[in-house]
């Protein structure tokens, strides 16, 4: 048996080998999507295709390699065969690619005729063909209107690129030279990885190498099982929406019992015609990305192992489990990312209910990507097509600190955003500004981080710039706050026609924000539409930040003042959402007025009170939280009641029903308009509301759910029975 020390050495070695796969890829590519934004990832897998370790760039990009490898093993063993020196290529989302642009190269690694591992790299290719330059397939009727699918093919045979197969791939692309360079870069990366694996086997022996793979999976799985057992059992429900040709729904029921986690997404909308659907493996890979960064942050990232304790339930033909030929051109950042946000909230509520892991509980990060996909002719008159990774959303707040500003998507820790100068050099565009956008962080006792606002216009472009508005959550809030923290606002995109931006510049005035641009017309763009920009037209995009944590009326007024002074929050939000009155001239908090204002705002929350408030207990009894085994944020705490346990408001001690039920059922419920917490929601649909759950006695905000009007409330149930004994005197 491999001793623990050798195992540790081998685990690190595999990690180092895996990291090198990306390093070589980044150094040899010609695509700014890869060298500037790191939209790529790698993995090393067992001979049977279980992922042993993955890189920490865009996680989901290599979380489908198991599917690719199993596809190859299952179908190609005899014809065309799987031999030393072979490499396989695919962009087929039903065979392991995220979407068609995320092309995958994987290779079997042999030792002395025996298959001992697989290694691979996936990266976002600028263009892989199809009607729409840059990919994604917006407005397609089905997958045939998107970029062509290349199922796994043997692109490298005995160490050499198969030029006939490569020609099939390149012939379809608008950017063939880049794709060919990326092919060879990955060839170099995999050759390097194979040499390192061979060195390792020479040093430790092939039996040890193979056995260590199983042991790595075992220890990783045991660590995850331990973590799950430490967390409370229960069921958490979430629902989110996706805006495309119509509104689609993803529903999650997350159930944790012992060391098993079941994520049930079966009650989601039927699949869309194209673009936004996720294939089953993409959905599973994306969910795994969330589990890695939130649940397994201190474990060896061996996804093959974690799958053993996880069950993801979906129904074929839905948004999260697309049936061919539904289109899937943007699955990774559409349906799958929405599911990631829902799973994240479920995990974060699970953490919040654990004393040990309370600090891991974080509100949602930005709920959807925003990127312009531009194409046309560059300043030299050559065809280009590129996804500009030029914006960033914010991170969610935690129970003890504000969310970080501009961190971009969750589950992609090493990804980066491009420098303006890099994009302006390569493409005929000019950025008018790029800055932190005010009021984009979800308010809360701790505020969500900010997103960006960016403005882009064609510049010295020999042809109109075609722009696909790769966006989502344009008209409704989606990033969920926790325990009174507010959601992220909607993230609108504007198309300003016929501005005088360039002329104004020539006269000595630049634009510092959306409100400074004078335009002939302004249009709020739907998500995922294609427009053409001509001289003077400006694309303005606002990216949401992260969601908030805890009641905003509990935020330290000095922090609110600082938020105002550094531009994070408008005066209006400081006053109406945080209940803080500021003396702007003297840069000071008006303490008396703030107190009165906060009192009034709390009272207003009780206007829609439903049901009868429960018994009012002494707040001092609640103050003794050391005795309670369960506190949910700063919202409620579990106390001993007459028969079993009861929930109580942490602020005033008001009881909120039996511990066996969701506390929301006994809260004062009020629905308010979305524009009450962020000016960006002026552009949101009025069919969505904020459903507030407040303490019926003191108005302390316990939870907020962005809902469609009349949509069901999402209830949780934490298993509290086991805690009753703990509370007995």
């Amino acid at each position: 048996m491999v001793d623990p020390v050798t195992l540790e050495v081998l685990r690190h070695r595999l990690q180092a080998i895996n990291d090198e796969l990306i390093q070589v890829t980044v150094r040899t590519t010609g695509s700014p999507t890869v060298y500037e934004a790191y939209d790529a990832n790698s993995a090393v897998l067992t001979p049977s295709g279980d992922a042993l370790c993955i890189g920490n760039y865009v996680l989901r990009l290599s979380l489908g390699f198991d599917t690719t490898v199993k596809h190859i093993l299952g179908r190609y063993a005899l014809n065309p065969g799987i031999r030393d020196g072979d490499m396989f290529y695919t962009n087929d989302p039903w065979a392991g690619a995220g979407h068609q642009n995320d092309t995958v190269m994987v290779a079997p690694i042999f030792w002395d005729g025996e298959l001992v591992a697989w290694a691979g790299v996936s990266l976002h290719e600028m263009d892989v063909g199809g009607p729409l330059a840059g990919g994604y397939g917006a407005q397609a009727r089905d997958v045939y209107g998107e970029a062509p699918l290349i199922p796994p093919v043997k692109i490298v045979e005995a160490g050499s690129v198969r030029e006939d197969i490569e020609a099939v791939v390149l012939r379809n692309s608008r950017t063939p030279a880049f794709n060919a360079l990326d092919m060879r870069g990955r060839l170099a990366a995999i050759v390097r990885a194979r040499a390192r694996i061979h060195e390792t086997i020479r040093r430790y022996g092939v039996e040890t190498f193979i056995e260590a793979q199983q042991r790595i999976l075992d220890v990783a799985q045991q660590a995850m099982a331990r973590r799950l057992r430490e967390l409370p059992d229960g069921t958490w429900r979430q629902e989110g929406f996706l805006d495309y040709d119509r509104l689609y729904r993803v529903r999650l029921v997350a159930t944790k019992a012992g060391d098993r986690l079941v994520l049930d997404l079966r009650d989601s909308s039927p699949q869309a015609p194209a673009m936004v659907n996720a294939t089953q493996h993409l959905l599973e890979g994306s969910v795994m990305a969330t589990i890695l960064v939130e649940l397994c942050y201190d474990m060896p990232w061996a996804p093959g192992a974690f799958k053993r304790n996880l069950e993801v339930l979906t129904t074929e033909g839905t948004l999260v489990h697309a049936r061919h030929p539904a289109g899937v051109g943007q699955g990774g950042t559409a349906a799958a990312y929405l599911a990631q946000c829902l799973v994240s909230t479920a995990l974060d509520k699970m953490f919040a209910a654990s004393d040990k892991y309370r600090h891991e509980s974080q509100a949602n990060w930005v709920p959807s990507t925003k990127r312009p996909v531009v194409s046309g002719l560059n300043r030299r008159g050559e065809v280009y097509a590129i996804t500009l990774i030029d914006q960033a959303g914010g991170g969610g707040a935690l129970s003890y600190r504000d969310g970080p500003d501009t961190v971009h998507l969750a589950g992609a820790p090493m990804m980066a955003m491009g420098n303006v100068e890099v994009y302006e050099r390569l493409y005929p565009v000019l950025y008018l500004y790029r800055k932190h956008a005010q009021d984009t962080g979800g308010p809360g006792k701790y505020r969500g981080g900010l997103g960006t606002e960016v403005a882009l216009t064609p510049h010295k472009s020999p042809a109109p710039v075609q722009l696909l508005n790769l966006a989502g959550c344009a008209f409704h809030p989606e990033g969920r706050g926790l325990y009174g923290g507010l959601p992220t606002p909607a993230q609108p995109t504007f198309l300003l026609r016929g501005t005088d931006a360039l002329e104004a510049m020539a006269r000595g005035r630049t634009q510092g924000g959306y409100d400074e641009l004078a335009a002939r017309s302004t249009q709020v763009l739907k998500s995922r539409v294609v427009v053409k920009l001509r001289r003077g037209d400006v694309y303005v995009s606002v990216q949401a930040g992260g969601a908030g944590y805890g009641d905003p009326l509990e935020r330290d007024p000095e922090r609110v003042l600082a938020d105002y002074l550094n531009g994070a929050c408008s005066l209006e939000v400081c006053r109406q959402v945080y209940g803080v009155a500021l003396d702007v001239h003297n840069k000071a908090v008006l303490a008396g007025e703030t107190q009165a204002l906060r009192q009034r705002l709390r009272q207003e929350r009780l206007l829609g009170q439903v049901g009868r408030p429960g018994q009012h207990t002494d707040p001092s009894a609640v103050g003794a939280t050391g005795r309670s085994p369960l506190r949910l944020g700063d919202a409620v705490t579990l106390l001993a009641g007459a028969d079993g346990t009861v929930w109580a408001c942490q602020r005033c001690g008001q009881t909120l029903g039996s511990g066996r039920q969701d506390f929301r059922r006994h809260a004062a419920v009020l629905e308010v308009g979305l524009d009450t917490y962020s000016p960006w929601n002026r552009f949101a649909w009025d069919t969505f509301v904020l459903r507030q759950f407040a303490c019926p006695h003191c108005g302390h905000l316990l939870d907020v759910q962005p809902r469609r009007k009349k949509g069901p409330t999402m209830y949780d149930s934490v298993a509290t029975d086991a805690l009753a004994g703990w509370l007995a005197p």
Partner: protein, 702 residues
């Protein structure tokens, strides 16, 4: 020998300020250590210099009046940055892009973190606090485009208002200026420099087109802001030190060690304070380069295992590779720097149980206070030093040459406690931890060598720093390295590197041309190389180096079209005027790095940059005892025997211990045995043979 040929190196470390004096022949004439004085580092420098003068039987003014040069490496910039004690710096930038430094290309949240830290999503955040607050940033109306055309002229009214607010109202001591595309067209930045020099002559100014004239506004902004943040501190320290030294009689210019591995003047270091970051470890790397030349080694792994970190740099073909975009405290900036890589693995690294229930070593360190459990100074967590003690490698009565006594009982106690949680005993855990820490270091070395496409087994291992002698011989076995060098006076190795190291000046010039070169391009390249060489030589001349002592090397940076990462190809004297071999040289090198069949000639090959390196070398030390006949028998230095554990034997065995101070040239050592020196302990595992060479270096054949 005239005393005026003494050269002095002073290296400020976290604990000690080291001073070495070498004579005209490069021999170590004196060495001294004094406590580093964090408040005013110049006090410690003067103290160390005085002690060194004392060793030579001289008064400090006497020494300073008669030296050939004084080279200095300091931690002023590094400390000011890490502790956020820099100047009150303001930033003036293109309006609409004021948040660039905070957005940090999103990757600021993970820049410089370890993979395990990066994996922990809920802990990711930006640099805290930022080196410049939003309140000290002003956006100015102006805009230049990617072709260098002015789209919006500089709005000077806005500039005047901004400067008045920043300096008069907010009290900024330094102003950084960074506009988009200024490296193509610097006139807007220059105009503000002019306005500042007229109106605010005392304010420190950094402009991005001077600090980092390269593409990429985030990294350029960071470089410019850090320069403004650190400049006033570095400048006042260096000028203060220079004044003090002149007061003490210094007759020569004070030269600063740079992170690029060269030397520069106080004036230049004050203008470009980023050059002084990490100059201590870089001194070690430069010492390593010199060492490799002395021994005629091509490829050397220079490894410094100290108390908390393991710092590694490489010598490749006699040179130290540079890192073009270093990261400090989550900020990445343009300031090419000798690549010194660190992981948290040293004598103070803590042994614990990780989340998977496996033993783990580091990266946390017990530091110097309370230190390892065996210090018996309140530390209860076992460390690598405790492990080394339990395994019998270090002598509890001869730690730091006997200045400190270690408690074996405390070490065993702490290890036993952690071992219990793993179902192990004290010794099993000690063996495991010893192997794990060595494996972590081995993986890091593997990564450094491997990433550049080189096999660690082709390297020699140069080991210095307090814990190296104990661990690196084992590491060498793990890496497959055949030769290990443990130099004498390894505790002041970095200061020695500064004073003995090569003096290097580099100039570069962007030059775009596609292969095969057109005649005019080939001619232009030849002309440009001539100009660049002239500039390098002028620099050396101003420092008093004769032409014949300066060695020049020409490089062409090339890449496949579309790529951004380049390879530097040495091009010799370009004797062949059509330079027809360039494509072959490039592709040969490319395939050497990335593998056969990985090139893609169809996209074309292009030249993007010319570079000339000039190098002058101070005299090397002669062979210390070359005149003596080698004496193979080490028994005169025999100290005694003790039990030590060797993983390859699986048990404790009695081994001979030698007094390093009494070993002589030619002594042959057979492992297993142990050599106790003033600053370190060398452990020779079974089967390893060592001998003492002409320089006093203990060399191991693994």
């Amino acid at each position: 020998m005239p005393r005026s040929t003494y050269r002095i190196g002073v290296d400020i470390g976290g604990t000690f300020t080291d001073c070495v004096v070498v004579d005209g022949a490069g021999r170590l004439a004196a060495m001294a250590k004094s406590a580093t004085t964090p408040g005013d580092q110049s006090l410690g420098v003067i103290e160390a210099l005085s002690l060194a003068a004392q060793c030579l039987g001289m008064a400090l003014p006497d020494l300073l009046a008669h030296i050939g040069g004084l080279v200095h490496g300091c931690t002023v910039a590094t400390n000011a940055l890490l502790e956020r004690k820099g100047a009150r710096a303001a930033l003036v930038t293109t309006r609409g892009f004021e948040d660039t430094i905070f957005i940090g290309r999103v990757m600021q949240k993970r820049a410089g973190l370890s993979p395990q830290e990066i994996a922990h999503q809920s802990r990711l955040h930006k640099a805290e606090p930022p080196v410049v607050p939003l309140a000290l940033i002003r956006g100015i109306s102006e805009r230049i485009d990617a072709e260098g055309d002015v789209l919006c002229p500089l709005n000077e009214d806005e500039v005047r208002r901004a400067l008045a607010e920043l300096i008069d109202e907010q009290g900024a001591e330094a102003v950084a200026i960074c506009f988009l595309w200024s490296f193509l067209r610097p006139e807007h930045e220059r105009r503000i420099q002019e306005m500042l020099s007229v109106q605010y002559p005392d304010v420190y100014v950094s402009a991005s087109h001077e600090v980092a004239p390269v593409l990429g506004e985030y990294e350029r902004t960071v470089s410019t802001v850090l320069t403004a943040y650190l400049g006033p501190r570095v400048s006042s320290y260096l000028h203060g030190l220079e004044w003090r030294l002149q007061d003490e009689g210094l007759s020569r210019e004070l030269l600063m060690m740079t992170c690029r591995g060269g030397l520069t003047s106080v004036a230049d270091a004050s203008q470009h304070p980023l050059l002084t970051l990490d100059s201590g470890p870089v001194g070690g790397a430069i010492g390593g380069k010199l060492f490799s030349r002395t021994y005629g080694l091509d490829k050397v792994i220079c490894a410094d295992m100290g108390g908390t970190s393991f710092d590694v740099s490489l010598v490749m073909d006699g040179d130290t590779p540079l890192e073009t975009l270093p990261i400090v405290d989550q900020y990445s900036f343009y300031c090419p720097k000798v690549a010194v890589h660190s992981i948290g693995a040293g004598g103070g690294s803590i042994v614990s149980v990780d989340v998977t229930g496996m033993p783990k070593v580091g990266p946390e360190s017990a530091g110097a206070c309370p230190g390892p459990a065996c210090y018996d100074a309140g530390g209860t967590e076992p460390t690598v030093t405790d492990v080394d003690l339990v395994l019998g490698y270090i002598n509890p009565d001869y730690f730091l040459g006997g200045r400190q006594t270690l408690s074996r009982a405390r070490a065993e106690e702490s290890l036993t406690r952690v071992a219990a949680g793993l179902g192990m005993d004290c010794r099993e855990l000690a063996v495991g931890a010893f192997t794990i820490v060595n494996a972590r270091m081995a993986d890091m070395v593997n990564k450094l060598t491997i990433e550049s496409g080189h096999d660690p087994r082709e390297f020699a291992l140069l080991a210095y720093g307090g814990a190296s002698g104990t661990h690196l011989p084992f590491l060498a076995q793990e890496l497959g390295v055949k030769a290990v060098y443990l130099p004498e006076a390894s505790s002041v190795f970095s200061a020695l590197g500064m004073v003995r190291g090569d003096i290097i000046h580099t100039v570069e010039h962007s030059f775009l041309a596609i292969l095969p070169l057109a005649d005019k391009d080939a001619a232009a390249i030849v002309t440009l190389f001539g100009e660049l060489e002239g500039r390098v030589l002028a620099q050396f001349q101003s420092e008093g180096w004769p032409r014949e002592q300066v060695k020049l090397t020409r490089y062409l940076n090339m890449k496949y079209r579309l790529q951004v990462h380049e390879l530097a190809i040495p091009v010799g004297d370009l004797g062949n005027p059509d330079m027809s071999g360039l494509a072959q040289d490039f592709e040969g090198r490319y395939e050497q790095v990335y593998g056969t069949g990985t090139g893609y000639r169809q996209v074309g090959i292009e030249v993007v940059k010319l570079r000339v390196d000039g190098m002058a070398s101070p005299p090397s030390p002669p062979l210390a005892e070359a005149a003596h006949r080698p004496q193979p028998d080490p028994s005169p230095a025999l100290k005694g025997t003790r039990e030590a554990y060797f993983p390859s034997l699986g048990r404790f065995v009695p081994v001979k211990t030698y007094d390093g101070g009494r070993l002589r040239y030619g002594n042959v050592l057979e492992g297993p045995c142990i050599v106790e020196r003033m600053g370190d302990t060398i452990v020779l595992p079974p089967g390893v043979r060592g001998y003492v060479d002409e320089y006093g270096t203990v060399r191991l054949e693994v």
